[in-house]
Subunit: 338 residues, 2 copies
């Protein structure tokens, strides 16, 4: 029931995802009177959808606390409950981000070894895609949190991008070891010393995001949220200026017609719909957030991320790496004691 447009995008998105993933099945939570007619519009959805009716839904304006108190039997709450009960392998929602985060955290709880979940997503870079986290789940983070985010981000990259040893960096104001605050310097030290299935490269700067210098960019939720929105805003500003520049005169209109196929492929690479699907990482269950303004094809991308994560044992990878990190930290302490 979420997103700027509501069920139409979700159901059409499901139909596109089903074409790409013939084994996928859907439990759909929400107002049956709105959903059932939409499902019948897409024959491909005929045998793979189960509609679970509820009148209640979490609105875009609702505060996380409110949603927690009265949202358990809303469409959002019931979809998370289905994950908790093992009836669904993942929940995908285009609804209220704060409410989804709060309810997911409360109902699914964090995985053993993870203190706080993080919001992670793929971002387009000049040479492909990178994972960035945290995008806004935690405005304040300690060094331990950043280390856990690095482990989760590397597991994301191994699962969705198929990289065996992704390169990982901490976002900082410079690449020299003495830059940044104490938290980031401590996290840097912990990651350098640990023996994890990632290529930890140290610090990266804001430039590194778009360059695609590393596969995984780790930061606190405040900086990550600002950086993500700054990148999106800058891309949108340039696209808008380019559009008006190319319709400025007869000459530039002719130029646009000739260059259109090339410009469309660029637009396609930068289109947030093609990188849609942010993951709440570190919970006992998978929850994927689709952009509220995503198109049907964008919602299908988010379902694709959910399917990738669910079928490639993301949680198992994270647990294994956490144990490896903790064992190493334990050895370190033992070494020092001796």
């Amino acid at each position: 029931m979420g997103g700027d447009i509501g069920p139409q995008v979700v159901i059409e998105g499901a139909s596109i995802a089903r074409e790409r993933l013939p084994d996928v099945k859907f439990l759909i939570f929400g107002d049956e009177t709105k959903i059932a007619p939409l499902v019948t519009k897409y024959p491909i959805l005929k045998d793979c959808c189960e509609i679970h009716h509820t009148d209640k839904f979490v609105s875009a304006e609702e505060k996380p606390g409110q949603a927690l108190r009265r949202g358990r039997d809303s469409s959002m709450g019931l979809s998370i409950q289905a994950v908790k009960d093992g009836k669904a392998r993942s929940a995908v929602s285009a609804g209220n981000t704060g409410a989804l985060m709060a309810m997911s955290k409360f109902m699914l709880r964090t995985m053993p070894g993870i203190d706080r979940p993080a919001l992670a997503s793929l971002l387009p870079t000049s040479c492909g895609e990178s994972v960035m986290l945290d995008l806004g789940a935690n405005v304040e983070c300690g060094a331990n949190n950043l280390v856990q985010f690095a482990i989760m981000g590397a597991a994301f990259s191994r699962t969705v991008l198929g990289l065996a040893t992704p390169s990982v960096a901490l976002l900082n104001v410079g690449v020299e070891e003495l830059k940044g605050n104490e938290i980031i310097k401590n996290a840097d030290k912990m990651l350098r010393d640990a023996n994890l299935p990632m290529d930890y490269v140290g610090f990266t700067e804001g430039h590194g995001l778009a360059n695609g210098e590393v596969d995984v960019v780790v930061t606190d939720g405040f900086t990550g949220n600002v950086a993500l929105k700054t990148a999106e805003g800058t891309a949108r500003m340039i696209a808008g200026m380019l559009k008006s520049a190319l319709s400025d005169s007869v000459f530039s209109k002719i130029g646009y017609l000739f260059a259109k196929p090339a410009l469309m492929s660029l637009k396609n690479h930068l289109d947030p719909n093609n990188h849609n699907g942010a993951v709440f990482m570190g919970l006992n269950g998978l929850v994927i957030k689709s952009h509220g303004s995503a198109s049907a094809s964008g919602f299908a991308s988010a379902i694709g991320v959910a399917a990738d994560m669910a079928s490639n044992d993301l949680a198992g990878k994270i647990t294994k790496d956490l144990q490896r990190f903790e064992k190493h930290e334990g050895d370190e302490i033992e070494d020092k004691t001796i």
Copy 2:
């Protein structure tokens, strides 16, 4: 002696600035054997340059602490000293940022009422230019620092952009009052309550930077540095992709030829050289940092910012607003005591 290319850019930049500003005069500090031949290359510089020779200069790799210890008689140190002694109204350097910041702070000290200086600059937006600060002088900031940055940023905007009542916002992860950490919430409260010559609008998000939603964006040096570099990196990525898309095929090359004038005007607006000149605000003296990779025309922009600031009494504006803020805070406390 600083910057990626050295004196050539600085002297050519001075000649361009002199064309724009016929009253400007230069004290040039550095290696006379390199500088004198360059100055004679530009006849316009003949009667407005005084070369002060020194063998010493601060290298790009030097740590701020090192520069402080041994850089007092370097070209950088001597130029700051000239500001301190009242021989120059502003110092402009393309050299090592950390060293310039440390030496400026140590030699000029912060203005009364300012706890920490901030690095501020103009950024291109979809509707013109905005001021952002802090861009990296302070990785950790309290609410008081953010309030002082807001006052300094508004004075910057009034001086350089000529706005009587600039709109000012704090950069945050959301626009609702309950978003963000305690520091930013306290700064928001203090700015709301104060009666300053600015239109304080509350929070803005990363999108707001490129949108040009507000005239002045205030943030801590960590977030500001990451946001600035993310915006620059994103713009460079898109420009690179656009360039390769437009040389992709014969058709797109033809398209490029037709659209070239329009694309050049867009490139011009986004070119960092046209927005060059970051200001160390809050010191007893003006110091302007030019990008290390700035062109001669970019260096001239930085000199232009210096001249604007010097001739429009930036420091006086800041002092007046600080007094107004402190008087208001004093009244508040008195009100509460009664």
